[in-house]
Symmetry: D2
Subunit: 491 residues, 4 copies
């Protein structure tokens, strides 16, 4: 593969882009009280001094505040995005240039990410965050790579684990065994790596203390590695902190789903029929947002408990087949695949909107749509395609089936991400400072840290917390300062 | 103590009361699809044959359907209420008489419960459910008591454990060591018992296979016993089934809180300021109900995560001291004590309504109020007292500070209780049929049974569930038929 | 007809009933700030001195506060209920006895109303409020009847107009021309009157300065009289004050509909399918209440504008025929007749609830149901009937098809009625003090009085109003103190 | 003034812009069923043949569908925008080029509008829509100007009336008498006109049959002209059609307010405190949208009825002074001036968002802000300014205080505008075909047309309307096919 040398953010950063990004960072900081509180708490202490963090997470303005928080706490950082579309170029530029640098003398963090990467470029970027040769040279150290990973979706972790596996096997599987185009690219990259340095990834893995993972999907992969006995280092599951899963998933989607729909289509949501596919936290946020705009929401579910919740919340629960012809807006929220099939698409109303806020683009059978004879795609505007179907009707597919809240809007807002990212920073601190508490395996953060994340976000909302009296605390058997709930409490 | 021989439901049941109750049972059965589905599933099999169940749970119409379900599955049952006010006499009468009996020849279940028991009577009733001498005689068996307990709040379990403790010690503590009047009564009852039969409770305990517990408070007590190494038999925590905690607590309160407020006061909820003390599941249901009626809801919280949830749901979060003078309706939802103090009451608006849907009557400092010099209580109507305070203002206290959704209304509606009680029946079945899976300790039901409870309630609401394809199930790593979520999933 | 001499409230008032009512009045006064503000405003002035008011309006606790407000302003009053079921006997007793009287020496107002009147008794009561002979004798005056009517539904107004018509004709139509049983009773009453005194109603009418009418139905009748040139005196349409129609109809129903459903059935509203028939103000309040409890609401409408509003508010709009088999709770809100037919009832689910909050009992075809072969009614409890249909299914009919928020609950709460009744008092004052402004015809209150009603209710809710600057008032062309809107503003 | 000859849409239209606009028109047509239904109803009839319409209304995609509907019905049209920022250039280009034309041979409608006009340019554009010399020449006619005006805000109507006034006076007031910069420009334009042709506007006015006006503000001006006896031709008040005021104002704002906030700031709405200034239809829509996103909404009001509605809808009602320091998002919805003063701004939180969806930019005292010593404006991105105040805090002002739903988003969505614009087309048809029914004065559309507008939008939402039986229609005294409500019904 050819390294797209001239297009990586690290080099293209220009000052006007960086300045625009810096403005946005300043505004975002005001909406990210958790991260700013950690900077204040550790002012002058640099608890992450010596940490070398490889980050793979959507390179947005909010992530920029996260990165600069990690740096403020003493860490060295290299970064890539975890999605080919989600980079905000001005944020990347601002991080590269840094608060005090210039494009010629960047004083920030190397970022390998730009909006609209090809898959080849994407994996090239992913590989770059593991090459710490420049930092090693500058420090006179013999580092191969990072000592911590901060991951979203597990691609960075996957690269290391696959690299080690193939190095142990001494070979990379043939390209024709690849499950899909992306897999073929990863195999190619690792084949080149194996040829160049047959122990590179093994050395990388040996230096890594652990990974903190952002998403359901990434955590799922970690659990699979763990069950298979193949997990190479401890992992902290940030996704299942309450202040992540219940906030990012629910309140983030509540905000960013209608935002994406509006920017993409300008179609009135009120009065329309919306189908929310899946009533987990994401689906709950989606349904609340759509109902709050006056849509009539119908839910599909496979889990009887979630289905009963949807009914008790006042929503019709149906199968997609029963209602497909009445629905104006389809929103997938499952993390599963093919929940909207080509057959479903053929049954939809003319100009029905099809949007995914679940996880991968295979929630909607985009591959099936692309191979459907007689179907034709017309670009209406960036990330909005009209697919003309052989039925004579069209549907509007947002962000090519990928996460539309990132592709058609700007992702979750800063305040939500401040919750998620404060968990990330606390998790990085745990792995760096208290690694003994985290043997190889998949862990969640202890509840007192989860509560700390929440606590750091209350003032900004004008929330006044009540304090238990010692008698009350004793009565319910908790410390006055918390934690207040058992591990299984569901919030 | 004097046994209130002439007033127990078992004997007073008259036919008109029983017939009225039978009508209500028939309507309630239509709203309790989970219990009716279990009757259908086990038709003719009597899986609980041989089970002797001592039940202590509010003796309402819904509980009557539960009792008759247990009987339909083959169990023998004796019953008391777990609250002095919550019995619906017609339900008790119907259960005693049974579907086919008459007051003279009752064909139902012995019930020791009536609306408005004294504390003396309450504990007399509680003791009665452990006396299986009549059943033993009829069966030619040598049973002392039940082999299963179905408990709500833990009073039945407490009685057995205290009895055993005192029998082991050979003495009951002096009355003057009692924490309060109720404790004094319990000590007296056990002192009489010890005198009459120094091994009675030890024999009772030995026969008991386990207990299924309905409430947070009861589960809290069980965990304390377990931690102290004093738990005598396995316990299943029904309270923390999702289909109990998230349904009974949230949706039940959403229904029964405004119902109780309306029946008690007829005061318009819309436009009023309501303070919801505690934003757990009960508080969430309370806030939704009040907001749904157009009240302006303010929340107090001690837990920063729940506080942040309240803020994200659009509610002001304040301390009670900040807002006490603006609030029209106070609702306690904490399970803690003294969350409304006498000082708070002195600061309230004239005719502010004070209501508890949390747990014990000490959520509101009723003891403090009763001893407040110059305070005077006027009965407005049953379970509604105007307390004239020395400030010159009055407040309206519902159900004397006890659970007002039971005292001022009829508790949770049948459909909600069907979820909770289907969990109870499944838990009784587990302890009776699969005791090996439940060593001494506190357990929750396995997730597949939790999902089963939900599944049994979908048809009645017209919910149509989607079925995973085998490919989809494999993709997310679950069986096609579930369970669908990990143990820590929060719903 | 036989005068039910021993059962009218005027005579049966006993002290315990009156005392219970007096307690409730005291609480209601705290919830009726508009009426209490008028008492304060006119303290010592008695602006209604000389007014003789015949009132026909549900004899509830709230009406008692209205009556005592009229008395406080100097009026003499006689009262009947406008519904055979809606009287709260303790309220009637308290009004009769008066704040300072005893049953033997009543110091209050003659009230002719009790819960559960027959139709014969109802019209006997209605006639009694026009007989002011006792008051005339006491005053040494030659009054025949009242000089003002305060009406709800128009029955009192109808009686006068029919009386005059028949006196002018010199005859009352034959009983066999009666449209129904009730009409037959009215004709009988007027036939007796004509025989006894052929000019009675003409003299009554001549003394009447005007009527203030509470309801849509009554106003509709007034407009018909006016269009036909038969209206005998000015009428003020209180129903169409914004602070009546938008408050009583919408917010009152939002409160009292779920209250009535709960008291009648204890059925969980959450998760159920509810059909709201008609999306006017009443239907809007009903839909909001049901949705606020987690029901899935479907609306039927004939008016395309209201139908579009329902859709924009997120509700499915369907015909009853499309959805009848899925609905758990039917609520009629139309003011029309036969909106639920016997055919609809035959298609309903088993134990579907059928409730009317519109107007007359003919919204539901109760007559058709009663004559349906094979249908059988079983009384479950007062005002709740199970109708067993020949289909083998049953339905639950509330309040025999009459207004269930009155029959199964206690009607609108005091705060809502304070808005309506403050309009009534202002309207009575207008007719008594500024009759010149109101020629024979149907009038609404001037907007400044409508705004005054609202203004008198703000403090109790903690509302702080903003005041226009003179520049702002000039800019939008209104006085600083209002009125603020044009006559056609829709709120 | 200098005509900005090279920048008017009529001339700059290029094909790629026009094609992008044409795509958007096609999608918008699917969301504007009312306009498309009128095209279908009048297919082949050209009822507006001979009509010459001068339009002044935001030149958006939706307006493009309106314009092409007018053309489809036979009218000739010239168009300007009524706001310097609101033009969507691609929509203007598409209308100019027309469905069948090219930039070189445009086959559409002359449009004088582009995004970001200066005030000079704005009034130059406004004047151009009255110059029909080219059309007259092509038709061999002696027209001076249009025979119909379609207006939004009244600027086009104002120009004609001012022109006539000054021509009658024979002079234009001195520039120094101008109230502000914009007034000075209008006076200059009319001074030039008077010099060039002293009877031009009098001839224009004589040809005009009437105007249809879109907004509250424009209607207010028309009523002032009418009261002053200066109105020159009939006016139809489209704003007060129910399907305009209750839809555009409420449901349009519900959609476009959060859209604008999100595009402008990406700030999380959930959990924030939002102040809605004014609780008319616009404020009601704003409050619903913000609450639906989880904000805590506080309302300010001057009208006690609207204030009481806000309270009954569950919102705190306060004065701005009481809460200014707690509010994160300010939204003005009043149509009044200076509802947010510089003093208020000085008291706001750091980075509070200030947004106007009321009417003119003087709702917020922008003039005062601009002249505040020490205040500095920083452009964050187009239409988003950070104002750094001398307090050391900043506020974010959207769209320079003008309508942010237009400036920061794309205005109301097509479906809402379809309601408003269907009213406009029906009003133009009324003035053109049934002018006799509309003497000089300000009229609303008859209710049957209002209901027709609603009816044309039901199918697209899947709404199924119920039809009255003849007996039901007779019972409530309306025709089976409507209209169903009296003129004063408030919906």
């Amino acid at each position: 593969m050819t390294a797209p040398a001239t297009t990586d953010s690290y080099r293209i950063a220009d000052m006007s882009l960086a300045e625009a990004g810096r403005h946005q960072l300043r505004l975002a900081e005001a909406e990210m009280p958790g991260l700013m509180a950690l900077r204040a708490e550790y002012r002058g202490q640099r608890p992450l001094a010596g940490a070398r963090i490889a980050g793979s997470l959507h390179m947005t303005v909010q992530t920029a505040v996260l990165i600069e928080t990690l740096v403020d706490l003493g860490a060295q950082v290299r970064w890539a995005s975890c999605n080919i579309f989600s980079t905000q170029d001005e944020a990347a530029a601002a991080v590269v240039v840094g608060p005090t640098g210039t494009p010629d003398e960047p004083a920030g963090v190397p970022v390998f990410a730009w909006k609209g990467e090809t898959l080849d470029e994407y994996w090239w970027c992913a590989e770059r965050i593991f090459d710490w040769s420049a930092e090693a040279a500058a420090a006179g150290a013999d580092w191969t790579g990072p000592n911590l990973i901060l991951d979203d979706g597990g691609d960075a972790t996957l690269l290391v684990h696959n690299g080690v596996t193939f190095e142990r096997a001494g070979a990379v599987p043939d390209a024709e065994t690849a499950e899909n185009e992306e897999h073929r690219i990863v195999l190619g990259l690792l084949r080149d790596s194996l040829a160049a340095d047959p122990q590179r990834w093994s050395r990388v893995a040996a230096e890594i203390r652990g990974v903190t993972e952002e998403t359901t999907t990434g955590v799922h992969r970690l659990h699979e590695l763990c069950r298979a006995g193949e997990l190479l280092f401890p992992a902290i599951n940030v996704n299942d902190s309450v202040t992540k899963s219940k906030f990012d998933n629910k309140y983030g989607i509540r905000h960013s789903l209608p935002d994406g729909l509006n920017r993409a289509t300008d179609v009135l949501i009120g009065g329309k029929v919306a189908l929310v596919v899946g009533y987990g936290d994401v689906g709950k946020g989606a349904a609340e947002a759509l109902a709050g705009q006056g849509a009539r929401v119908i839910v599909t579910e496979v889990d009887p408990i979630c289905a009963l919740q949807a009914a008790m919340d006042g929503f019709q629960v149906a199968t997609i087949e029963e209602v497909v012809g009445q629905v104006d807006i389809f929103v997938t929220c499952t993390g599963n695949k093919n929940v909207i099939t080509v057959d479903h698409m053929r049954g939809m109303k003319h100009l029905a909107v099809v949007a995914n806020v679940g996880h991968f683009d295979n929630e909607i059978d985009m591959a099936g749509l692309e191979s459907l004879a007689g179907a034709e795609s017309v670009l209406i505007k960036p990330q909005v395609h009209e697919w003309r179907l052989p039925t004579g009707r069209s549907i509007l597919v947002l962000s090519e089936g990928r996460l539309m809240n990132l592709g058609n809007a700007t992702g979750h807002p800063s305040f939500v991400m401040s919750n998620s990212f404060t968990n990330q920073v606390l998790a990085q601190l745990e792995l760096y400072l208290r690694l003994d508490s985290y043997p190889v395996g998949v862990h969640v953060l202890p509840k007192h840290l989860d509560e700390k994340v929440a606590r750091l976000h209350l003032d900004a909302l004008g929330v006044r917390l009540t304090t238990l009296t010692p008698e009350q605390a004793a009565y319910i058997g908790v410390p006055v300062e918390g934690p207040f709930k058992g591990e299984n409490y569901r919030y």
